[in-house]
Amino acid sequence: MSEANSTMKQVTPDSAVQNSANGKYDAVIIGSGISGAITAKELTAKGLNVLMLEAAPAKDMSYKGFKSYLSNYYENASKDNNSPYPNNPNARMPRSTDVSKLKPGVADAKGYLVQNGPLALDSTYTRVTGGTTMHWEAKILRMLPDDFSIKTKYGVGLDWPINYDDLMPFYQMAEREIGVSADVEEQGFYGIKYEPGYVYPMHGLPPSYLDKIVAKGIDGAEFVLNGETHTVKVRPFPQGRNGIPNERYNNGQGFTPVGALSTYQVEQGGRCQGNNNCVPICPVQAKYDARKTLVAAAKTGRLDFLPQAVASKVVVNEHDNNIQHIEFKHYASTSSTEHTVHQVHGKIFVLATNAIENARLMLASKLPSSSGLVGKNLMDHTYLLAWGLLPEAAGTMRGTKCTSGIADFRHGEGRKSQAPFGVDIHNDGWGWATGSPFSDVESLVDAENKFGRALRQSVVNRISNQLLFAFMVEQTADESNCVTVDEAYLDALGNQRPVIHYQLSDYSKAGIAYSRHTSKVFFQRLGAKDFSSYSPLDYGHFQYEGEDYYFRGGNHFSGTHIMGTCAANSVVDENQKSWDHNNLYLVGSGSMPSIGTSNTTLTLAALCYKTSKHIIETLSQYSVGVVSDSDYKIAKGASHE
């Protein structure tokens, strides 16, 4: 991992256009996040030639470039989840700091996402090389088997055309690529199963001291829901960050973690150091991000990477409805909107931007699909936060952002009437809810008038004792939640911006309200003082059965090009291939018809492995130069060296 491994062959727009006109590219991939990176790595490993367009610059592929993100973060007075990443008017990204309370009937266009309401959604994504995995937290859960058939089992949302068993082998591949730290014996619950003898690449991360205090207080708490008893147990999360390699992995071959990317020798990131900063940036790169996969793809010599190229239009052949080319706008500098317009051709095209941008691009290209579902069924995990002060110093603000949580409300018959949820115990205290720890210092000094020893002691009591539960509540598909485009809202390059229409159903609200109920029981058992409050002035405020709540977005945009069983009920098939356009794939969480209570990345990564396999099989029928299976080592596990 210490060799010079950040060399990415970058092409100029002119040579990309020339190459594509000469028929060089088997696949054109739009976006360098985890979906695009995995697809590129799989395809190039099979001998296929790939062109990848990335809307952002690619300076961060060097160690120096990465370090500039860190300096931005340290110096930025706001520490929101996109704070390390430079503002780029040519490929803007949403920031939670742009979100404010909406006035009924008035769209709010001050951020990149145009918020059409009725509720404002503060979710974000990151438009840089490596995509949102740059700022993701990297909790990396499999979905529960039940999550794939919620319509059939519970009468809510939509079913998948495939099930857990279909995804199992691909989950394994995704866990290898991301480098997951977890112990199988702690993760096999509520139907989650593994192939016999399977172990994760690395051992699970140790729980935080805070986790242990919380577990001591709430393990064994019982809740009765729809006649079923849910017994609480604090459990560790699988993590997409480097831990101690498991020597039993891959039939005893072990696992080599991928550390920091650099142009010169930097031994860093081979193991998590507990920087407590997974979001918005892991300073040592122990957390997986998609640049690691991109670099592996680039090493094949078959990936042409074109940064600063914003896909602007998908153009269809009238005679067979296939994609003829993709038009893109290339800019020379983020400080100028000057750009040139080009088009690229390939055998197949893969849109791997993200759920919002994939839909935005299709709609801006006037391709809403024959089902009319592009952009519809927008989902996200909705979070309720509940925060309190423990009676003792719990060492809060140490460790990764979150090491453990509660899975016992993710399953069961209760799902017929209210949304299920997972629970995170936040090692970073009240940060998400109140801006801790800085806000605590401000209030102790300016409002409580503390100084000297009394201040220092209060800082301990106010911060080290903090406990925040984040309840991640499932949202089911609803066509009225959607992303659209509008000529009235353009970005600096003249591309249409996403317009978000977002509301919470009573099913969601009932789940959120129940999660709040459980938090009260937890705080009581822990002897913690409950500080949660949900102001009607908050942009995420809503009332349910007379009580005030607010929600936060989960940055898990999904559902905007759902997969299904036919062109009438979905946008893509089980391989994420467009029903309408035979050479087009829309990949990522946009393909998910339901999201359960798992952070979406592992499942969307698994889907990309399934899609890559399908693409390779399809292209080999056209007898392009696909290498033989014996050379195809990636899926079998000899990558990473």
Partner: protein, 171 residues
């Protein structure tokens, strides 16, 4: 000792009294001079020197820590002019952030145009005393090592600031 060195030393002592971190701990951040310069740049030399001489006279006339704290509260933290400055010094040390002064203060004492809320530099964020107080690393820097989060925090006051009754040799 030249006057500049003396002022910086008194600034360190005042900072110690306000934050409860001793000179050793404050010097260990490497930021004493930087914070002194930031303060004088933003609120002006005159006010800083006035503040420090007030501090010295309070210190010299107090016979124990309790008495000193009372005087500090009344004549510095509870003073119309010095209070906001002293509170900014505390927040600067605890968070590495300079906070913009309140409007009434700006109007009354003619603040610099640079007076905005900002991190003094990237080191100041990582050296915030709040992290030391709770035995945690600053989020995103100084990673303490794999698994360290599993043990209880080691919270102590060993490097707290001590009031020592004034003797005329201490200058």
């Amino acid at each position: 000792m030249d006057n500049q060195t003396y002022l910086v030393q008194q600034f360190t002592e005042l900072s110690g009294a306000l934050t409860d971190f001793n000179a050793f701990a404050l010097n260990g951040t490497g930021l004493v001079q930087c914070y002194y310069d930031t303060l004088t740049r933003l609120v002006g030399h005159a006010i800083v020197e006035e503040l420090l001489s007030t501090f010295v006279s309070l210190y010299e006339s107090a016979s124990n820590h309790e008495q000193f704290n009372e005087a500090l509260r009344k004549h510095i933290l509870g003073d119309e002019k010095f209070g906001p400055v002293a509170r900014n010094i505390i927040k600067l040390w605890y968070t590495g952030t300079w906070y913009q002064m309140a409007h009434f203060w700006r109007d009354a004492y003619g603040m610099s145009e640079e007076d905005m809320t900002f991190f003094v530099n990237s080191a100041s964020y990582a050296e915030g005393l709040l992290w030391q107080a709770i035995d945690a690393n600053p989020s995103g820097a100084k990673g303490p090592g794999y698994g360290s989060w599993s043990a209880p925090p080691n919270i102590h006051f060993d490097n707290g600031w001590q009031f020592k009754p004034f003797t005329h040799t201490s200058k």
